[in-house]
């Protein structure tokens, strides 16, 4: 009989709409991060490094890139005879067909997958956090407390606590109460969206709440378990953890990698982060180049100047270009003498010569002030920017743009230029 002590269920179906044009064509977990990775590499690597070799990845929104990236799990050593990685999209059933309507609903629809491994424990993860965590230690903690549910939680500054789901605990870390984005938080322990359930408890709750519309872990399953007298514990986590849900936090997390000794260190032998990568040549740095405080991916060609930036694989920065405080993803081309300041340039973007990006006043975006703020210029995957245009701050651009799309060659701060399809 097949038996796995603990399996992981990784929620990777969300759009991550607060990442704006970055997630127009890909699900958030598939967004590039840190030069050569994708966000989902972090939880997947954590799984294999923690000895979890059975991972169900629940996909829904724009899964193509994610599917191609995961494949059969070879980069994470998750290609197994028994277990390994399985991509779980929503599927048609004989009497009903529905999308995943909530985080717990997605798990509920895959009870058969979990049953097939006969697990004692199920680890619920989300595919949009940057961190290194040993889930095995968390499982030990779960067992030691004889817990039904263990929730990973980290202390946040009290003044920020009202942005999070807060757990209130007693002196033994047993959870006594929950507060969802409370005005007056009674604790500063924020839930990280990482749960270990004893499988019986999880299954019972999922079945009981199967008719709950949009069944969600935070809103329904956890409160249900709490109300029914289950033993809920908080597992305090004190290392680096970052929710990269907004453009600002995404940019910040990338920039933290270039610190002299980054808090989140990718260069340690221990706890490696794995990713699918091609056999790429080294990067070439030309005579005319200047690079300081950067990380740069394989196969890039740098002829221009790059400062305090995160550059992906296979990027070309032409002579005379100056890039500062920016994220440039895989395969992008930056034309000659183009100046870029504080921008996020997605995969395969082509930027012409003599452009200026990120210049002007920090005025909020007209259409989506909540998404495009932080003073960042964001250019979506595959976009083309013609020669000689000036682009402001808090802008969003997608599609193949031509000089006619720009007002006198200028896209002022706070404007959006969305071509070739909606976002």
């Amino acid at each position: 009989m097949i038996k796995k002590e603990m399996i992981a269920m990784l929620l990777a179906g969300g759009q991550g709409s607060r990442l704006g044009v970055l997630t127009a064509k890909v699900a958030k977990p598939a967004v590039a991060f840190g030069g050569k990775y994708r966000i989902i590499d972090f939880p997947l690597s954590n799984c294999i490094n923690s000895g979890i070799d059975t991972v169900g990845v629940l996909t829904q929104y724009q899964p193509l890139r994610l599917n191609a990236h995961i494949g059969i799990g070879i980069p994470w050593d998750l290609d197994r005879n028994v277990g390994g990685v399985t991509v779980l999209p929503p599927y048609e059933k004989s009497n009903s067909s529905e999308w995943y309507s909530g985080t717990a609903n997605a798990i509920y629809q895959n009870l058969a997958y979990m049953d097939s491994y006969n697990p004692d424990y199920v680890l619920i993860l989300s595919g949009d956090h940057i961190y290194k965590m040993d889930y095995e230690v968390m499982l030990d903690y779960h067992k030691a407390n004889n817990a039904d549910v263990t929730i990973a939680a980290m202390p946040v500054p009290m003044e920020e606590a009202s942005r999070f789901g807060i757990v209130v605990t007693d002196e033994k870390n047993k959870i006594t109460d929950f507060q969802e984005k409370p005005e007056h938080p009674r604790s500063n322990l924020a839930s990280m969206g990482i749960y270990i359930f004893s499988y019986k408890v999880l299954k019972e709750a999922l079945l009981k709440l199967s008719n709950q519309p949009g069944c969600d872990f935070g809103k329904h399953i956890i409160p249900y378990c709490h109300e029914n007298g289950k033993r809920l514990f908080a597992y305090e986590y004190n290392s680096y953890w970052k929710d990269v849900g907004t453009l600002g936090s995404y940019w910040e997390a990338n920039m933290e990698l270039i610190d002299i000794i980054p808090v989140f260190n990718l260069y340690e032998e221990y706890w490696k982060i794995y990713t699918k990568s091609d056999a790429l040549p080294p990067q070439y740095v030309a005579d005319t180049a200047k690079i300081e405080k950067c990380i740069i991916g394989e196969g890039s060609n740098i002829y221009g100047e790059v400062y305090s930036s995160v550059i992906g694989c296979g990027v070309t920065v032409e002579e005379g270009a100056v890039i500062k405080d920016s994220i440039i993803m895989k395969g992008a081309v930056i034309g000659k003498n183009t100046k870029i300041d504080k921008a996020i340039i997605a995969e395969d973007v082509v930027i012409g010569d003599n452009c200026i990006i990120g210049e002007g006043e920090d005025v909020p975006n007209e259409k989506e002030p909540k998404i495009y703020s932080f003073g960042l210029a964001t250019i979506g995957e595959g976009a083309v920017i013609p020669d000689g245009v000036t682009i402001g701050k808090n802008v969003a651009i997608t599609g193949v743009t031509t000089i006619e799309d720009y007002d006198n060659g200028v896209l002022a701060s706070g404007k959006s230029l969305i071509k070739a399809g909606e976002v």
Binding site: D278, A286, K290, E292, C294, E298, C313
Partner: protein
């Protein structure tokens, strides 16, 4: 493809000096991200050869690590695969491989149990791209018994390191001299051969029965007038790394845009083992000019006209000029290195100075303990 492949990767060479202590030539790191044998193996897979044997003997540890999985070159298929043959003692034989022909002869069952009509033999120390399919077409068209891939060396290059060839107008080989003392030939063998499988079995068995063990001396040269041995001229980039100078020059060639374009950007691609290394990191004070930097490197100092392999750490105020820093080297602060090759996994102390000469490249091989510095 109607051929199987054999890569001869067992050799060592005195001309590699200290660099050969650690590894066979075929495992020498090339161009930042590759090892020498990647080129032969990538050519095999890109030519759709599915079954490849790598024959190793001399210090194969690095090579075996590199070949730990066949998936990097897409060989691990149900049909075919990547085989590594090291010398073994059998009831009939207790010798090491006594030469290239003997190495294949000792594994003759590999040839006998295959069904493909042809065999491509390549050596693991060549840096080149070649479609062996094209050579095979030529081989069939010429009705050759053996086809030897050859190339013209540029003027001034040392022919005496190679097998020197003379061809007639039909490209049949009329003269073949292995590492001649003196010659006026400019065409050399690249160590790549195509031969019909049954013909090879026959020639190897014959040679073995006469106690002859070398493929070049005892088969190619000995049979050059009896068998139809043809040359196939290769016009594209080819370099063999069988000496320190040649190794240095081959790596430095990759600083030229046309060489990089040819190997890195043009189809078909060169495959290698993928290591899970983070992107290269440039800290404040880094100053890099005309250099190749590989993944996992951390650069704090100055690097000029150099090739830095994977996972190298270059300390503050270091100056690296016209040098090759192999994998996983740690270089302490304020160290000056010029015209050197620094051996892999080496640890260089701070405030050191290593200077080689142009034409007399220095191999740096320190045995410092990294964690006691």
């Amino acid at each position: 493809m109607r051929a199987i492949g054999i890569v001869l990767a067992g050799g060592n060479n005195k001309n590699m000096k200290e660099l050969s202590i650690k590894r066979a030539i075929s495992a020498m790191p090339i161009a930042g991200s590759y090892r020498s044998i990647d080129f032969a193996l990538s050519n095999m897979t890109n030519s759709h050869i599915k079954k490849v044997a790598v024959i190793t003997q001399y210090n194969a540890k690095s090579l075996n690590e590199h070949l730990s999985s066949s998936k990097w070159w897409d060989f691990g298929r149900k049909q075919g695969g990547l085989y590594v043959f090291t010398p073994t003692i059998t009831s009939e034989n207790s010798y090491w491989y006594r030469g290239t022909a003997d190495a294949i002869y000792q594994n003759i069952s590999f040839l006998k149990s295959s069904h493909e009509p042809y065999v491509v033999i390549a050596s693991g120390d060549g840096v080149y791209k070649l479609d062996y399919g094209k050579v095979l077409e030529y081989h069939i068209e010429k009705k050759a018994d053996i086809t030897v891939v050859c190339t013209d060396l540029p003027k001034g290059d040392d022919v005496t390191r190679f097998g020197a060839l003379k061809l007639n107008d039909d490209m049949r080989i009329t003269d073949f001299e292995e590492k001649p003392v003196e010659t006026d030939a400019t065409t050399v063998s690249t160590g790549i051969y195509i031969i019909r499988r049954r013909q090879l079995i026959e020639l190897l068995e014959k040679a073995a029965s006469e106690d002859r063990h070398d493929f070049v001396k005892d088969i190619l040269i000995r049979y050059k007038n009896i068998k139809r041995i043809y040359g196939y001229k290769m016009e594209s980039y080819w370099n063999s790394i069988s000496s320190v100078e040649a190794y240095y020059r081959t790596n430095m060639d990759f600083l030229k845009r046309e060489v990089r374009d040819y190997f890195f950007n043009q189809y078909p691609e060169v495959f290698s083992k993928v290591e899970d290394l983070p992107p290269a990191k440039y800290n404040q004070g880094a100053e890099v000019k005309n250099s190749l930097i590989s993944s996992g490197c951390i650069v704090n100092g100055t690097v000029e006209n150099s090739v830095i392999f994977k996972k190298a750490y270059i300390g503050n105020n270091c100056v690296i000029k016209n040098s090759i820093i192999l994998n996983d080297v740690y270089i302490g602060d304020n160290t000056y290195i010029e015209n050197c090759i620094v051996e892999s996994r080496d640890t260089i102390r701070a405030n050191m100075r290593y200077v080689g000469e142009e034409g007399e490249i220095k191999v740096v091989l320190e045995k410092n303990e990294r964690y006691t510095l």
